[in-house]
Amino acid sequence: MTPLLDIQDLSIGFGTQGPVVDGVSFQVMPGQTCALVGESGSGKTLTCRSVLRILPDTAQVRSGSIRFGPGDTGQDLLMLSARSMRAVRGDRISMIFQEPMRSLSPLHRLGDQVAEVLRLHRRMRPPAARQAVLETFERVGFADPMRAFRAYPFEMSGGMRQRAMIAMAMVAKPDLLIADEPTTALDVTTQAQVLGLIKDLQQETGMAVILVTHDLGVVANMAETVVVMNKGRVMEQGPAAAVLGAPAHGYTAKLFAAAPMIPQVAAPARAPTHSDLILDLRGVSKTYSVRAGGWKKPLQVTACRDVDLALPRGKTLAVVGESGSGKTTCARIALGAEMPDPGGTVHFCPGQGMEQIHVHDMTRAQRTAFQRQAQMVFQDPYSSLSPRMRVQEALTEPMEIHGIGTRAQRRDKAAEVLRWVGLSPDMLGRFPHAFSGGQRQRLSIARALTLDPVLLVCDEPTSALDVSVQDQILTLLEDIRDRAGLSYLFISHDLAVVARIADEVAVMRQGVVVEQAPPDTLFYNPRHPYTKALIAAQPEPDVTRPIDLGLVARGAGTPDTWPEPYRFEGSVAPDLMELDPGHLVRCHA
């Protein structure tokens, strides 16, 4: 069988520096999935982009060829005329970008952006295209495809935007799908659903896939071949079973060793004590009204409802849950970036025994102090970094705002935090766009750390990191927590990470917390059907134990299909019940 895509000796560099992609070669067979794994910043994204010839203006392809096409019809994409290339893009090859938040046009409705592909390459009329898009939206897990169709990107949660991006890439059923970390912002059940969809499509149309991912579990479940990259070079490449089973290269081995796993727990943890709370959310709800378009009445979207979260000082409270369940919203409310609906309160206590501050009703001085003590790592690092500020400016800005240190001190601190997160200080002069996704995520973490905060809200801080760097970052966070008593509100989809770092976990679904307990308790005895589904859906990096994508994707279904005690309909959810000490579950008594 001839490969559908054959990359030979591809080298890409910037400016006068050495190549960042260095002699990369690999093939993708029709109908197969090739997983691209490797260190953050190793050139995966650039390799993928070079296939579509949408590298940054400043990048130079220094050598190599990219042949695409079945059998003898292959052409070198790098040589193709711009016009022929356009026919390939979106039609025969499409790409899911790593950072879906930035990659969608902020001014156009999602439906329009997705349907455009169909209108362009399939010559579909608007109603037909709309139908097809709505179907795809449904398949990527939108509960309300119509709302997604109408929505603007900024009205959507991170995962929702990612799913829109996925839908955009898949709706035209391309020959080759390049998926650059397509599921980083998705919870595991949705992830399973998306992966299932990819699989289905592969079966239907013989689509080949390049799957860039950090999740070895996903690799194990999806890929026929694996390419491992590090520092721009291919370290190892081969059939998935062989590479995963017995890594031959030192880097591969190290990488696989670093993969975290959901622990097998023997006994539940003790109930946590909620004595010295640094952050206390009570009865927080948030309703957005969205423009419905035309003259229609605006739509009310409840992002979260009646959320109570308490974060003890020096502890980590993890929030996991469905994509779009209001995690980010809660985090933003917790830091005062968003006003909760009336009735909800957020209290912050800067130090033991100190006066509690009402986060949404602060004096100027209190606010300044609060903003120095509480920092946030944004889910979307790209958008949260000013595109016209060099990294150095971005990193020193918080200190400048709060008047900390001299210029030189601030610069040194910036270089230091950068080193903490595993980046080199010579990147200080770069602009945010000149980084890889994972590097940007680390920048965002670094910036949050420059002020030595006491509370850190991390919204999926490690989703774009490969397991070894992730391990490094987690270790860093743990270190600081232990050293400086930092408290974390930690949002994540990766249960393994949560299991490692959290002292308590809250599971959210549809804007409400459905179960809350220390991780050990949770993994030992998950009570809520949704929690159970989540744990079941976590893929494992073992080719021999694939999860049934179809099955787990169904997850726990909608609340009205849940077993009796948990079932609810509409917005009238049952209350949280403390089943065991410290183990809260939303169920009818």
């Binding site: 893009r89 790409m95 001014l107």
Partner: protein, 342 residues
Amino acid sequence: MMFLRYAVYRFVTMLLTLVVVSVMVFVIINLPPGDYLSNQIAELRATGQAEGVAKAEFLRTEYALDRPLWEQYLIWAGFAPGPQGFSGLIQGNFGWSFEFDRPVGEIVGDALWLTVLVNLAAVLFVYVVALPLGVVAAARSETWVDYSAAFVGYLGLATPNFLLALILFYYGHKYFDLPIGGLMDPIYEGEPMSWPKVKSILIHMIVPTFVIGTSGAAAMMQRLRANMLDELSKPYVETARAKGLAPAKLLAKYPLRMAFNPFVADIGNLLPAMVSGSVLVSVVLGLQTIGPFLLAALKSQDQFLAGFVLMFVALLTLIGTMISDMLLVLLDPRIRYGARGQ
């Protein structure tokens, strides 16, 4: 719903602003010392026309311009009854022009639509020329396309309008037999619309459109180019490119829309700015637009005529700003007019 509410709210605001503006307009036209009739009498005396003096004196008694200013305002605006009862702007009576000796409405009738026509043509010209050129200049920035667009644009911008008009008229007439001045062949004036008349208007509009339009076009082109360049490297443009969109369509649909924000903000001012900006051009080019009337009225302090024209321009401005505010919301869904953090 939200939008509708905003529109209604914005409309009411506009009406209130209009009232304020009308007060200011009235004050401004009454600011210079002297008034039309005294000037008129002086002019008549200067040219020895004893005959007219009597008539001017007659007008003074007839139009009772002797009341206090505030009362004159109320009467003019139609808030208070004048000698003939309520009969002011809001009742649709625009007043009397001393200079032209006819009701204001009658005088400006034709001029109004010609003004709007000429300026719409200029606006159209600006958009038709500047929009694509600006986009192309950005897409091909720092190539000869870009440079020559800049050169031509600035050439138009850096030539005084009247000189440009003169050059165009002179050589246009010499080599292309274009007409000099005017907005249509005078023989079609007052005639009903007909194909030759339309043709005549079109031919006559070439130079004025060009002259009024060039500066606007250059300005728009360069600003658009700058804004486009900012947008072109944004990731969403890459996404669009990855979809396989053709360059023209891609540029028009994505970055252009983003880059358009500052222009939408100014859309409201497009027409009024051209109306007031083209006053002098119209005067020297002899266009039968409202501009020359305004200048003549202001110079001779023909207060009702000046007041009406100024109010007309003000109304255009206000409506324009209102439209631009509403368009802005439609253009960029993220925009809310609420205060920070609400």
